[in-house]
């Protein structure tokens, strides 16, 4: 059993927090990671900044630009994460980013470095399922890294089954149409029907709901239909303009789970 699956053994709804590596300062990555874990985040996604993040809304885009200006890149990130498991031993850590920086770094190198740092999973939204199976699955497996795939309201049932088969961690349920950080604009009942439809499929992997979850209220609402939820943009907003980013990150986690 891996750290991700262990986390889901707990009898509680899981809070998964996303933050961008190298934001607000280049050296913020590990202090924020540790603060999030200490404050009670159950799963942590570290965003690997990319110049053109297509699935992300304005908040994560802006944080990515700042991180890149700060000098964040794959080499710097893996340097920062070298001893991270001494500070954060048990919390599952995932890397979330886009395919091009991974390709340029080298998929094998990326997986080796991630595994060496104690990373548990990887989310690459623009990695197609077929390409993953054909070219990446063996490498991921060799390094014991779990991929996480997205499911949206438009994903067909047979495709959801296939994604579930390829997954040994959790399914990332995108809450509705839109990029990260957007408000839920769906008509009443539409989202519930979608969550219910997925729930009725009795999938083998647990589900976390992401996109548009911003506070305790939306977190609790999302958790009614899943094993937990993912928050990213709202956390990044809480870090804006603060002198003490780790403290702000911890306070944000407390505001959700206390």
């Amino acid at each position: 059993m891996n750290r991700i699956q262990n986390a889901f053994q707990q009898d509680k709804k899981l809070l998964n927090i996303y933050f961008t590596a190298g934001y607000p300062q280049l050296e913020s990555t590990v202090p924020i990671l540790r603060a999030l874990a200490d404050a009670g985040a159950d799963v942590i996604e570290i965003g690997v900044p990319f110049s053109d993040p297509l699935a992300d809304g304005p908040v994560i885009q802006a944080s990515s630009s700042v991180a890149l200006q700060n000098g964040m890149n794959m080499r710097v990130l893996f340097g920062q994460l070298k001893d991270v498991r001494e500070q954060v031993p048990n919390t599952p850590i995932l890397l979330m980013g886009y395919l091009n920086p991974v390709m340029q770094f080298g998929v094998e190198n990326f997986c080796r470095e991630a595994a060496a740092a104690g990373v548990d999973g990887v989310i690459l939204p623009d990695l197609p399922l077929d390409d993953y199976v054909a070219e990446y699955q063996d490498i991921f497996r060799r390094h014991n890294l779990r991929p996480v795939f997205l499911i949206t309201p438009q994903t067909a049932p047979e495709r959801i089954r296939r994604i579930d088969e390829l997954t040994e961690s959790f399914l990332y349920l995108v809450s509705g149409p839109g990029t990260t950080g957007g408000a839920n604009t769906q008509a009443e009942g539409v989202q519930e029907a979608y969550f219910q439809r997925i729930s009725d499929m009795n999938l083998r992997n647990p589900r976390l709901v992401g996109f548009g979850i911003s506070d305790k209220q939306s977190f609790d609402a999302a958790c009614q239909h899943a094993e937990g939820a993912i928050i990213g943009s709202a956390l990044i907003k809480a870090l804006e303009g603060t002198d003490d980013a780790p403290a702000a990150a911890a306070a944000f986690v407390s505001s959700i789970i206390k």
Binding site: F50, S51, D52, L54, A55, G57, P58, Q61, S65, L68, N73, M74, Y98, L99, N100, P101, V102, M103, Q104, F105, P125, D126, L127, P128, D130, D131, F149, L150, I151, T152, Q154, T155, A156, R159, V174, P177, G178, T179, G182
Partner: protein
């Protein structure tokens, strides 16, 4: 159906050699997959073809003339023909694609159209067909480009389209495309995205190439009439994403005796740090859902291209063109801002045709391709220069 890949025809998953594919987030998968499964069969329907051909003839004004440019020919001591795409309705080749895609969108049951635009020509061509079909139209355009191409912004608005500024990154074509893709992610059910070039995830590069292929289809007939042979020695076109080049090359791709010349924007010079010469500066990477040659730094971050022309400053090229460059099927040449501007004046003075700044890059290579007195050189005159007048005035061309 088994597809035999050729230069013209990508594999079933959209690959031209190592380039192409569909690297898209799951949110776009249903839309792109629906398009992939249906575009060939819809385009093969007799009713679609009839409507498309009729609009090309009666609305776009096709066939466009193939004009023998005798004074340019005399100056460069070769036989120069200009394929007059500048005479298409809306002033550029872009409308060939938008007419086809709007018919496709209607058959897919879509009611809302989005598009990206660089120079504004694709935006205008999209706004035009949306007005024609009574469909809602939103065009994303980089803030910098909105400033450079004001008349086109006004034309789109006059045609009833909403023009939304893209204010991230370099605020040009790449960023407008990002915003259009984000819009599509947010509106996955009712919206069709009319991509303006042979870029993006499969099937777009093939779809747009097929819709632009009418250019070379007409060229062959017209050349036979005017020169006694369907095949010229050279076909020359400018490349940003590469839609007009794809259309001009398409029906010559499998004729190896025809030399294909793709002209990129060198900006201030290929190695000046202010350039858009992707075939020289790019390496394989992923942009807007396709694996292609891409201008990027060593960390895989996409770099900001530069060209004075708003239609050529794209950090990638279509996967077909990346393959043509890789396979040596097309020769890639780059032309600086200054040389393009000289070509604007030359074509205006010698032939009475004011070309678009993008097109002028193609006109600027006549002394660089080695064409002899008996050779036939077809230059795709992809657009007219009206939209660039303000730039030409600022550059003080006279």
């Amino acid at each position: 159906m088994t597809i035999t890949p050729t230069y013209q025809q990508p594999t079933e998953r959209g690959y031209y050699g190592q380039f192409g594919g569909a690297f898209i987030p799951e949110m776009l998968y249903p839309n792109v997959e629906e398009l992939r499964q249906q575009y060939l069969s819809i385009m093969a329907e007799p009713a679609f073809q009839q409507e498309y051909q009729q609009l090309l003839r009666d609305y776009v004004g096709r066939p466009t003339p193939l004009f023998e440019a005798k004074r340019l020919s005399a100056k460069y001591n070769t036989r120069v023909f200009l394929k007059r795409e500048d005479l298409c309705h809306t002033g550029a080749h872009k409308v060939n694609n938008t007419v086809g895609q709007i018919l496709l969108a209607r058959r897919l049951g879509k009611t809302r159209i989005i598009a990206e635009t660089g120079a504004g020509q694709h935006g205008v061509a999209t706004a035009t067909v949306c007005a024609l079909m009574g469909m809602e139209c939103i065009v994303y355009m980089g803030e910098v480009d909105m400033e450079r191409q004001k008349p086109n912004v006004y034309r789109m608005r006059l045609l009833g389209a909403e023009v939304r500024p893209a204010s991230s990154g370099s605020k040009t074509l790449k960023d407008a495309t990002n915003e259009a893709i984000r819009d599509w992610i947010s509106n996955p059910v009712d919206t069709h995205y009319i991509i303006g070039s042979v870029v993006g995830p499969h099937p777009y590069p093939d779809l747009v190439a097929r819709l632009q292929a009418v250019i070379s289809e007409e060229m062959r007939k017209q050349l036979l009439e005017k020169t006694g042979s369907e095949l010229p020695q050279y076909v020359v076109a400018c490349v940003g994403g590469g839609s007009n080049a794809a259309g001009a090359f398409y029906h010559f791709l499998e004729d190896p005796e025809v030399k294909l010349v793709a002209v990129e924007a060198a900006g201030h010079g290929v190695h000046s740090g202010h350039s858009a010469a992707t075939s020289v500066l790019g390496k394989p990477g992923i942009i807007h859902g396709a694996r292609t040659l891409l201008m990027q730094d060593e960390d895989g971050q996409i770099t900001e291209p530069y060209s004075l022309s708003a239609g050529l400053d794209y950090p990638g090229i279509g996967p077909l063109h990346a393959f043509l460059a890789d396979a040596g099927r097309a020769q890639f040449i780059s032309v600086t801002d200054d040389d393009a501007l000289k070509a604007v004046v030359e074509c205006s003075r010698l032939e009475g045709i004011i070309p678009a700044l993008e097109t002028a890059h193609a006109l600027a290579v006549l002394d660089r391709i080695g064409a002899g007195p008996d050779d036939v050189v077809v230059i795709n005159l992809s657009g007219r220069g009206d939209k660039d007048l303000e730039t030409y005035i600022q550059q003080d061309l006279m």
